[in-house]
């Protein structure tokens, strides 16, 4: 049998598969985009913006956990450093344009990410998780004690300002489309990275790090770059969140936030592009629904239970399960 298989045929089938895969993804992305554009007509824009900010946060996080195999337990530090930087700059310098404030927040988070990466990269797996957790706690203490963060109270009344001095961001609909654009940029960036040769190396590292090393890749450098990009995007999410809600608080820096983004990613599906988005929408929505009902006091316990069930019963997450189902039944 084996001599009848023509290598060229295999190659052609693979290419065909890739093409149909690409087409399917393109259609899916377009449908989602259309939904996101129409969404604020049906739903409250601020709620949608919250989902988008957390979705960007989770997408950034998943670049590490899902595609590089690094579990960071300190991503709240980046969300918060973006949030505080942007919040502080926009309140202090009234002439500063909103987009510059956001860029500054992203940059600070990126640099912080580099610092974290340089310290934590020496260890792997759960050590890596614990070290990033401890580092983020250091950042938490910094924010608690610094005077510019407003301590326990946080920063309030941060002006939304105008985009490029033209579009008034105080209008919720304008703000929504701005957030949507930023989210899409971040999402597409991660999609592009994952699909690139660089992304292939990241996946190789995730699957078998010693083999990636033996192939001659400078694994640590790949990991550091992925970490820095992820931190920067998480900071961008934090900056956007600050502008949307006009506040930055210690909640963003608390390690519970790091846990929450892990839950969003895991629940939605690690290692899938759409998973973190679905997970973020699910968790934000769930928290909102629960806080309205009689179970308001049980949010933490319920999130914990979802965590346990996800780990025990469906580690591939919502999107992962759907993909499996599609592969089995549709082919």
């Amino acid at each position: 049998m084996s001599d009848s298989v023509n290598p060229a045929d295999i190659h052609k089938t693979m290419l065909d598969q890739q093409k149909s895969e690409h087409r399917r993804r393109l259609i899916l992305n377009l449908v989602l985009l259309a939904l996101l554009i129409v969404a604020p007509m049906v739903m409250y824009p601020v709620f949608l913006m919250k989902i988008l900010c957390f979705a960007l946060f989770a997408v950034a996080f998943n670049l590490l956990l899902g595609f590089t195999g690094l579990l960071s337990f300190g991503h709240a530090a980046f969300l918060a450093s973006g949030a505080y930087t942007t919040g502080y700059l926009l309140t202090t310098f009234s002439g500063l344009s909103t987009e510059l404030g956001i860029i500054a927040g992203t940059l600070v988070a990126t640099l912080l990410g580099l610092g974290f990466a340089l310290v934590a990269i020496r260890r792997q797996g759960i050590y890596f998780a614990m070290i990033t957790l401890a580092l983020s706690q250091l950042v938490f203490f910094f924010f608690v004690q610094s005077s510019f963060t407003g301590g326990e109270d946080g920063l309030h009344g941060i002006p939304r300002g105008q985009f490029l001095g033209l579009i008034d961001l105080n209008d919720n609909l304008n703000m929504y489309y701005f957030v949507l654009a930023v989210f899409l940029a971040g999402y597409l960036l991660v999609q592009r990275i994952v699909g690139s040769p660089y992304g292939q190396v990241l996946k190789a590292i995730k699957q078998n790090e010693p083999r990636a090393i033996s192939l001659g890749y400078n694994v640590n450098r790949y990991k550091i770059i992925a970490f820095v990009i992820s931190a920067g995007l998480a900071g961008l999410a934090g900056s956007m969140k600050t502008v949307v809600f006009q506040l930055a608080s210690l909640n963003d820096a608390h390690w519970h936030m790091s846990g929450e983004v892990i839950l969003m990613t895991l629940l939605g599906g690690t290692g899938t592009l759409l998973g973190p988005v679905v997970g973020a929408a699910f968790v934000v929505n769930l928290e909102y629904q629960l806080s309205q009902g009689p179970l308001a006091d049980w949010v933490d316990a319920i999130l914990g239970a979802i965590f346990v069930l996800t780990v025990l019963m469906f580690q591939s997450g919502i999107v992962g399960q759907v993909q499996k189902f599609m592969k089995k039944n549709i082919g």
């Binding site: 797996g125 998780a129 250091l138 892990i262 316990a301 780990v311």
Partner: protein, 295 residues
């Protein structure tokens, strides 16, 4: 002779004593983590919640059943230890053999549940526990005042730590434990019930946490979130000490408590961050930790 480096001697020794006490708690908790990690390769994120459960149990046992402090010192760890065995049997066992990250995430979820439930039952302000009469007061050592209870905590915590180290490193039972986790199939071939051994090991590590909680009840405020802050500190302690090492966990725990106490004396703003700073420095100089073996 009443000042050292610009700090009154009584203040310095007072802070050192506080540091030693915190260090004793760090040692007990990081020892429990090290036992569970060293033998089962599980990062027990629920450790802080179980420590809190130990403290809460001590208070609740007294309030509802009138169980004394001395009895609670045994009863609370045993009760919480049973909770630990249940967690191992019903949850952790299901994901044994998978990536260790999953056990971390699972125990994180468990911690959220425990903390969430207790917050609902007892509120965030927590419970009060008065210390047994024997421990009221203290003695004057000339250069400082030593409250009896604090002296007791330091002595008993270090005794328990030493006993645990001795049991694991020097006795036959400890040898079985280490062998059972090294090559469970071989040990099972020798007729040793390895799954039971695993449950008991996890339960024992949890008991250490609960024991620390019971010790903490009379001096710290007993609140549902008392475990969540100390847990992160203890993680840092464990990273500094080197994860595999039982002795490293104990020594580093005490040491970090003292370092924290000294920082509080000389530069208070850095006191809550100093352990994490030490961790960063140690990671740069010795990535495997002060007492860690593997590179």
């Amino acid at each position: 002779m009443s000042m050292i480096l610009g700090v009154p001697v009584a203040v310095l020794f007072g802070q050192l004593l506080l540091g030693l006490i915190n260090g004793a708690f760090y040692a007990l908790l990081s020892l429990g983590l090290a036992v569970i990690f060293g033998l089962l390769k599980i990062i027990n994120f629920a450790h802080g919640a179980l420590y809190m459960l130990g403290a809460m149990a001590t208070v609740i046992l007294f309030d509802t059943l009138g169980i004394s402090y001395w009895a609670a010192l045994f009863v609370a760890p045993i009760l919480v230890g049973c909770v630990g065995v249940a967690i191992e049997y019903f949850l952790l066992r299901k994901i044994a053999g998978q990536d260790h990250i999953y056990s971390l995430l699972l125990t994180f979820g468990v911690a959220l549940i425990i903390q969430g439930v207790l917050t609902n039952m007892y509120g965030v302000s927590g419970l009060r526990y008065s210390m047994p009469d024997v421990f009221k007061g203290g003695m004057n050592l000339g250069f400082m005042f030593l409250p009896y209870y604090r002296a007791w905590v330091i002595v008993i915590a270090l005794l328990v730590c030493f006993g645990t180290w001795f049991m694991i490193e020097k006795t036959k039972l400890g040898a079985y434990l280490r062998a059972g986790t090294e090559d469970s199939q071989l040990m099972q071939g020798f007729g040793i019930n390895v799954p039971l051994l695993v449950s008991l090991t996890y339960g024992f590590g949890v008991m250490l946490a609960a024991f620390a909680g019971a010790l903490a009840a009379p001096i710290y405020s007993v609140t549902p979130d008392m475990g969540s802050h100390i847990l992160i500190v203890v993680f840092a302690v464990v990273v500094i000490g080197g994860m595999g090492s039982i002795a490293g966990a104990i020594i580093t725990g005490v040491l970090m408590g003292v370092v924290e106490g000294l920082t509080k004396t000389f530069y208070p703003p850095a006191s809550s961050a100093v352990i994490f700073l030490v961790m960063v420095v140690v990671l740069f100089v010795r990535p495997s930790g002060l007492f860690g073996k593997e590179a």
